[in-house]
Amino acid sequence: MHALKWWQRGMVGFSIAVLAFLYLPIVMLVLFSFNDSKVTSFPLAGFTLHWYEAFLANEQMLRALRNSLVVAVCATALSVVVGVTAAIALDRYEFPGKRLFQNAILLPLSLPGIVTGIAMLNFYKQIGIPQSLTAVVIGHATALLGVVVSQVMARLAKINRRQLEASADLGATPVETFRRVTLPTIRSSIIGSALLCFTLSFDEIPVTYFLTGREVTLPIYIYSTLRRGITPEINAVGTVIVAASFVLIILSVTLLRERRPT
């Protein structure tokens, strides 16, 4: 590196501090999940896997975890199907009200989740659908539509129209062109947005809070436990989630990198 001026050094130090600020709490979570003490305090009391055992023995928590996975998978699948179809229609056609439709889809991403949750709760109550995991799946799929539509549309917009014309010129029907040119090009954006949807759905609280019934998802379970007080079990399940998130990120980064056309 070049010799840095004093203020540049200050900036480097400050930036490292901000990065540390971003990761320190996560490190704490992991650290205390292995700490043999009921309280999260220093000095550390020793290594234990007790909290992981407790988490694995907690039927309610495991059930909530399973519910979360099911909800996230279903919501993601629905979001991708509806979102990709919408993105293609929006990319391909000009029609009155197009901007309005796009804004409507993006609204839940900029609005506080709690407003969307309340709107959906009101709606389900009016048409008589009971609060349930199904309601949560539909709610998540709808709220996360914007993620898929915006990412896939951005990728579609970058497709060179000439490539689609070239495909037709070489004798491919529109369906063949979609399968062999469009789909491979937008595949990475579909995978990327699906992973993002999955994470957001798995982690979602406000919409879930209003739409869920007797069955709860993991974040709701943790949230209600936390209101009562801290148990290091939460640290253990938190560490597992953090680890899973990191695996997912690394997976998506490598997957998307290999798919990228050179």
Partner: protein
């Protein structure tokens, strides 16, 4: 000609809302011809090519290929293939996959073995071997160009459409590819229809050039016809350069006419048949290279003052002014001719001669 033209446009027009990209146009292209659509951007040349390729739907008129009406047919049902301006290679496919694409589509499903031999054949044809597994992103501009050509010709189209095929290449490469294009056209024996805005390219390659302007065909002809006998001042100035001056007919003797230009100078032209007998105001065209330094006592001369001289290697380009003419006149002198004149420094007065056979005359009131 009695044979059916391979491509025929019959009163074909294209409008976008209120904007007319192409006015009703007729055009016939014969089997095996190399035809170039030439014009500035926005003249309708690319629209015409895209109408033949099927990428645009005609607003009016019929498009025929081999006599068959294909106006309503999508691109994938037309026996033509296109080399796109930016090549439009599929970035996620290798060179071989790109070229084999048109052989593997449902409508043209060719057995794998034959596919491979045809891909190699096409690659050899464009002089590109050994890069079959590369992706387009790993190729140079010239190589991509060749892949685009191979991909189009591998389907053995009756007509190859080329949309500014050389515009993305640098000058040196472009000249090399011009030779390649000409060779390819000869070897394949099929019809080429090319779009370009580069007149040198058009003149060098084409059997016939279609000069277009503002959504209309201005003139169709062989390169030499267009150069020697441009039909309009526009064509005269677009194909090569031409000094265009306003003039009045003051006398007429058969095909020879006498014209007065600004400042009272009289110029004679032997191309009087190009204009109506009663024409009064006309436009004169003089090619810069036809204006030659001369002695003052020769007929058909112009006295001009040097405004600027620009060194062009083997030639000297002069910007000249004349009294009573409000625009500059340009000439290009061979360096050998410069020695014959006293001085080309700004301010020098020189006498130029032009052969009456070289003075073009166009009907028209005012300079374009």
């Amino acid at each position: 000609m009695t044979s059916t033209p391979i491509v025929a446009l019959e009163r074909v027009a294209k409008t976008y809302g209120v904007f007319t990209a192409l006015h009703p146009t007729d055009l016939q292209v014969e089997e095996g011809e190399f035809v170039t659509l030439l014009g500035p951007s926005g003249c309708g040349k690319t629209t015409t090519l895209r109408l033949i390729g099927g990428f645009e739907a005609a607003s009016a008129g019929r498009v025929r290929i081999e006599g068959e009406d294909v106006t309503e047919r999508p691109p994938y049902r037309r026996p033509v293939n296109t080399v796109f301006q930016d090549y439009a290679l599929f970035p996620h496919m290798s060179v071989a996959e790109n070229i084999a694409y048109g052989l593997s589509v449902k409508s043209n499903n060719i057995p794998k073995v034959e596919r491979q031999s045809r891909v190699s054949e096409a690659l050899a044809m464009v002089g590109l071997d050994g890069l079959t597994h590369r992706r387009p992103g790993e190729l140079s501009g010239g190589q991509r160009q060749r892949v685009a050509m191979a991909r189009a010709i591998v389907r053995r189209p009756r007509v190859l459409l080329l949309d500014e095929p050389l515009s993305a290449l640098d000058v040196k490469l472009r000249e090399g590819m011009q030779v390649e294009l000409k060779r390819l056209h000869r070897e394949l024996g099929i019809t080429f229809i090319m779009v370009t805005h580069d007149q040198t390219e058009a003149l060098a390659l084409s059997d016939r050039i279609v000069v277009m302007n503002a959504g209309r065909i201005a003139q169709i002809g062989s390169p030499s016809e267009l150069y020697d006998n441009p039909a309009t001042p526009y064509v005269a100035d677009f194909i090569g350069a031409t000094n265009l001056l306003d003039g009045q007919v003051i006398g007429r003797d058969g095909d020879e006419i006498a014209l007065r230009i600004g400042g009272g100078t009289i110029i004679r032209s032997r191309r009087g048949t190009a204009i109506p007998a009663n024409a009064k105001n006309v436009i004169l065209g003089m090619r810069p290279e036809r204006l030659l330094p001369s002695a003052p006592d020769v007929a058909n001369t112009l006295v001009l003052t040097v405004k600027e001289n620009l060194f062009h290697g083997d030639r000297l380009r002069l910007e000249l002014t004349a009294e009573g003419i409000d625009r500059s006149i340009f000439t290009e002198l061979p360096r050998t001719a410069v020695a014959a004149v006293s001085s080309v420094d700004p301010g020098s007065r020189l006498v130029f001669h032009i052969d009456p056979a070289d003075v073009m005359v166009f009907a028209g009131e005012k300079n374009p």
